[in-house]
Structure formats: C-alpha cells, structure tokens
C-alpha cells in the first residue's frame, strides 16, 4: 500500500508493507504510478532482472528505484509488476513491463531523480515503512 505526501515542489511516496520484499515491490509500484496515469495500462510483456548490493536499506531502496528510473529514461520502459527478494541487504528483483506507447499510456510526471532527502526505511510494529521524495 502506498500514498503520496506533500513536499512543496516535489512529491513524497510513503509505502507500508508487511515485509521488506513487498515494501520494495510496492515502492516501485508507487514510483511508476507517479510516472504513468494508470498503472493498469502497463502490460507485463518484458522482464528485466536487477541485482544490487546494499550498504544500508535506505541506500538500497534508493538504488533500486534509481535503476528502474534509469531504464525508463534510457529505454522508455514502463514497469508495473515486481518481484523482490532482499537478503542480507542485497536485492534480487525482477520487473515486468513494456515500452512506453503514447497511444495506450498517458504519462503523468517526469521524475527527474530519486532524492536522499528524508529517505527512510523503518521497521514498524507490524511491518515496514518507507518514505522517499522524488524530484519532479
């Protein structure tokens, strides 16, 4: 589950999930819901694998979202489905999506970057919380 929160010029994403794997998957969904108006229009026709080594969970989340954003910006690939496994602060993930097609996808925002500002990955009483502000 995710929601957006206010940050004057930019946009904050707040994600909650029962475990880390789902937290990272939902954060990616939140990111692409910011980029495309309706994530349901993105079909899972292509798959990419992402493997990342982490220093801490905050940076790992940052690097994960950043990698997806890079793929979108350079290959114009939109993603809508994610499977993530976090082990010892390393990430192994698969993302499914398809190339941006203006006849079927309506884009909402250009996300310039994921920022470190108030970047947060925290264990809560009954699950995990992540907060990240993206630069629009």
């Amino acid at each position: 589950m995710y929601e957006t929160f206010e940050h004057t010029a930019d946009l904050g994403l707040r994600v909650r999930a029962p475990d880390l794997d789902q937290l990272f998957g939902e954060a990616a969904q939140a990111l692409f819901s910011t980029i495309v108006d309706d994530l349901a229009t993105v079909r899972p026709t292509q798959k990419i694998d992402v493997n990342l080594k982490g220093e801490d969970l905050g940076y790992l989340l940052f690097d994960w979202l950043n990698e997806l954003l890079y793929r979108f910006d350079t290959e114009h690939l939109l993603f809508g489905k994610f499977e993530v496994r976090i082990e010892n602060q390393n990430l192994h993930a698969a993302a499914w999506g398809e190339p941006f097609d203006p006849s079927r996808h309506s884009l909402a925002h250009e996300v310039k970057a994921i920022t470190y500002h108030r970047l947060k990955v925290e264990k809560e009483k009954d699950g995990w919380l992540a907060e990240v502000i993206v630069d629009i």
Binding site: E6, T8, A9, Y70, L107, E110, Y116
Partner: protein, 486 residues
C-alpha cells in the same frame, strides 16, 4: 507533512530577515532571507528556513547562507538559496547547492512582431510549436549526436551547436558565460549520464519547464528595455529548461560518489542531501568537471529549443527568423555553481557561488556583461506562472554588496503538487487559461493542473522585493499568450 518553521527570524530591514548563527550549533554564518512581511508568512509555513540554517554548516561558507524571496522547501538546499564558499578556507562544493537539473535556466527571444500581428495566428502558432518542439516524458529530440559529437558538445557548449548552423554567433554573446564553462570534462560524465542525455538535447522536458509566447505588457525602464530591443506590445518567446536526463544523472552520480566523503574529510552535516566535498579534493574536482559539462549541455539544449521555435515562427509568418529579428535577448542559468570574484570580509576573492533556484544579476559595468548591456546591468529573466506574468530585470550594485551578485529566479511555488491537483478538482485549466487569453497545450492534463497559476506565488510580489532591496531593477513585464508544456 506540513511542518512550520519554529526557529528565529529577526527583521534586519523591510526586505531582509536574519536567522542568527546562534540558532543551531554548527552554523558558521547567519542565514539571511530576502522577503517582505507578506511573503514571509508563507515562507514560515514549511522547512525552507531550516534549510537556510543547515546550509550555514558548510565548510568555507562566506558572509551568510542566503535565500531569495521566491524561497521554498527543497531537498538539502532550499530552492532560492545562495551560498558562496572559499576554497582557500576549506570551502566545499555541493551538488545539492546546484540541484538535479544542472544549469536549468531561462532565455528570452525578441522579435519584430507585435500582438496584433500574432493574435489572428495564435492558435495555429501554438499548435505548431507543440507539434515541432518535443515536450513531456519519454520524448526523443530531433537532433542526434553520436558519442564523439556528444563529447564535443559537452566540452564546448553552445558554440558547438551554433558551429553546426543551429543559431548565430550573436546567440553566444547573449548567453551567460558565452554558453560555455571552461574546465568541462566530458570524461567526468558517466556513460549512464551520456546515455540518458543522448537523445534529449533539444527537448523541453516536463514539470515546470515551458516554452511561452509572450507580449511585453509594461515597460518600466525605457532605456534598459531599448538596449534589450524590447518595447510595449512586442512578441517574445521565453524558454525554461535545463540539462535534462544528463544533468540529473550527473547530480545523482555525484551524490552517490559523495556518500562517504563528508566523513572522510571530517565534515559534519545536518542532512544527507547536503553532501559535499572540499573544492580542492579529487571528489570535488571530479564533480566540478562533470557539472560544467552538464551546464554546457543545458545551454545547447536551450539553443536547440530556441532554434526550433524560430523555425516554427518562420513557417507560420512566412519569413526567416532573421527577417523576424528573433534575436536572443539573454540566457541565464538559475541552478549552477560558478567560480567568481567577489568581495568578502573586505578582500577580493575567488569564491564558489552556488545558485540553487537563484539568478546571477551583475550590475552595470561588470566585465562579464556583453557590451550592449554594460550601461544597464545584466538582463535577468524571471519566469512567472502561465496565467499572469514574467519579468525582465537588470542587475544592480546592491547584488554585489548583499548577495554575491544574485537575485531571485521565479515566482516560487505556493502549493505542493498534490494540493494544486486537489485545488483544481478536475477543472479544465486549459479552458480557464483560454478565457484569460492564453492558449496552452500540454502533454499531461495533470501536469497543467499542478502548474496552474494558483499553485505559484504572485511573481510581481517577488520582483517587488528584489527591486526594493536593490538586487535587480524592473525593466519590463510580459504576459503569456501561448504556452507549451510537458
């Protein structure tokens, strides 16, 4: 998560408020915010003043951590922030003090057309601009540069694309720094960044970037406006864009490189996003070389955007852009760090001036101003919102004395994006603008709602403060009549 600023703000004079050095342990200088009683109420509503105080922690910072009247909450630095550091005193360079969109900036083009000439063709003109100028997310540009060409472009800046026939030599003279920063090293720009930028030179982007057809609405200083070739009712084109994905990636790479750097150099920071390195360190030098290359890319981007607009005008009005006298008035950067000579503590020194959402505003007779503007001061282009107005100002001596030669950069947001969407409540912003005489075309309706006039402070109020404070003086006010956006 609206959080109001609870710290001190002491009135210095009617245009300036101080955050004393004593506010937080670790501040090396005070914070100074240029504002007025009214704007200040909005400033206090978020954490921007806290960010002004945080910037005062940076090693080597001189005089004060400054903020312009269009200040709002950013990440690390506030938007509208200015900070000058002295490398000889351990001064740092901070990518956060430049921003993701390195050399985001604005240029203004004049013409010999007047409102009555353009009015009957306005819709056609805007439609054609929207068709020809790539806007929005995921759009590739018309111009392709292979790897070798991109390296030249990064090293040389505007002169590279002008040399390929995309503009005229006069364009270089009227671009800040001649459209080129020395010391740009294309090899300091990662492959990732070059890949991101490869097809984006000559594209507008999204967010608050725009290309507008404007009319000179009011002239405040006839002599200065005359020197710039501006007069009442004249048609102008204003372009607001930056270094696109290439610049974002350069910033991103630098922030990743600097994750451990503050600890390495014993710098203690109140916010991760303020990451920095001493200017005289390998990390600092690497960022500076890459940042300069990204700045050169941004100038090429605006040059190509201008060229596409000139061609569209040529098509619609059946004359070449030269015949239409579509000359560049000036191009300014408002996200940049530059090594400049300033006076600090009674001595002339070379300082790294970070302008994050702030514009250089050199006064008359400054050697870096083109000869045609030497007497009137550097033109400063201030974009407002798409319903009300934009401005041309001229730099004043007060900027050298108070703000390291700097003034504001725009209206500044009054509402967050989410609040603006809520406020719009599904209203048709394009229709509303049309009722005000503005034809607007955007790729994203959502984008239009987020960027609606009400989402911004009134730019006139911001300009009033910098005018009164003697940072830059009013020359002319323009109103938009045609807008294209991402």
């Amino acid at each position: 998560m609206k959080e109001t600023y609870q710290g001190p703000l002491e009135r210095v004079n009617e245009c300036c408020w101080r955050i004393p050095k004593s506010y937080k342990q670790g501040m090396r200088v005070p914070g100074l915010i240029f504002s007025d009683e009214r704007l200040l109420e909005a400033v206090k509503k978020d954490q921007a003043p806290e960010q002004v105080a945080n910037v005062a922690f940076l090693p080597g910072i001189q005089y004060a951590s400054l903020a312009m009247p269009d200040i709002h909450w950013g990440y690390g630095f506030c938007i509208g922030g200015v900070c000058a550091t002295d490398p000889d005193e351990g001064g740092v360079i901070s990518p956060g003090g430049v921003g993701y969109d390195i050399n985001c900036g604005v240029r203004l083009v004049r013409s010999n057309l007047y409102y009555q000439d353009v009015k009957p063709h306005l819709r056609q003109l805007v439609e054609e601009l929207f068709r020809q100028v790539p806007t929005g997310v995921g759009k590739s540009g018309k111009y392709r540069f292979d790897k070798k060409e991109l390296k030249h472009l990064l090293a040389e800046g505007s002169s590279y694309v002008v040399g390929r026939g995309l503009g005229s030599p006069g364009d270089l003279e009227y671009t800040e720094a001649g459209g080129h920063l020395d010391g740009a090293d294309p090899d300091a720009v990662s492959d990732r960044a070059q890949t991101r930028g490869a097809d984006q030179c000559g594209t507008l982007g999204s967010g608050n970037h725009f290309l507008e057809v404007q009319v000179v609405d009011h002239v405040f200083d006839e002599a200065a406006a005359g020197a710039m070739g501006l007069e009442k009712d004249m048609i102008c084109v204003m372009i607001h864009s930056g270094s696109r994905g290439l610049g974002y990636q350069v910033c991103d790479d630098a922030l990743a490189m600097l994750r451990q750097t503050p600890e390495k150099y014993g710098i203690s920071l109140p916010d991760r996003q303020l990451a920095c390195a001493p200017v005289n360190s390998p990390e600092g030098q690497k960022y500076i070389a890459a940042m300069r290359a990204a700045a050169n890319f941004a100038w090429c981007n605006r040059q190509l955007l201008m060229q596409q607009a000139r061609e569209v005008f040529g098509t619609i009005f059946g004359q070449s852009w030269q015949e239409l006298q579509m000359n560049l008035v000036y191009d300014v950067c408002h996200n940049i760090a530059k090594f400049e000579e300033h006076e600090a503590n009674g001595k002339r020194r070379r300082l790294w001036v970070h302008r994050k959402g702030a514009t250089r505003a050199f006064p008359p007779n400054h050697p870096e101003i083109p000869a045609a503007y030497r007497k009137i001061g550097q033109p400063v282009i201030i974009p407002g919102d798409m319903g009300r107005a934009s401005w041309v100002l001229a730099g004043r001596q007060g900027s050298m004395e108070q703000t390291f030669g700097t003034t504001c950069h725009g209206a500044g947001r009054a509402m967050s994006r989410t609040a603006a969407i809520k406020e719009a409540g599904g209203r048709n912003i394009a229709k509303e603008l049309e009722a005000r005489g503005v034809i607007a075309r955007a790729q994203s309706r959502r984008g239009l709602a987020e960027e609606q006039p009400k989402a911004y402070k009134n730019v006139d109020e911001v300009v009033e403060v910098v005018h009164k404070a003697g940072l830059s003086a009013k020359v002319a006010r323009m109103r938009p009549i045609g807008v294209i956006k991402g």
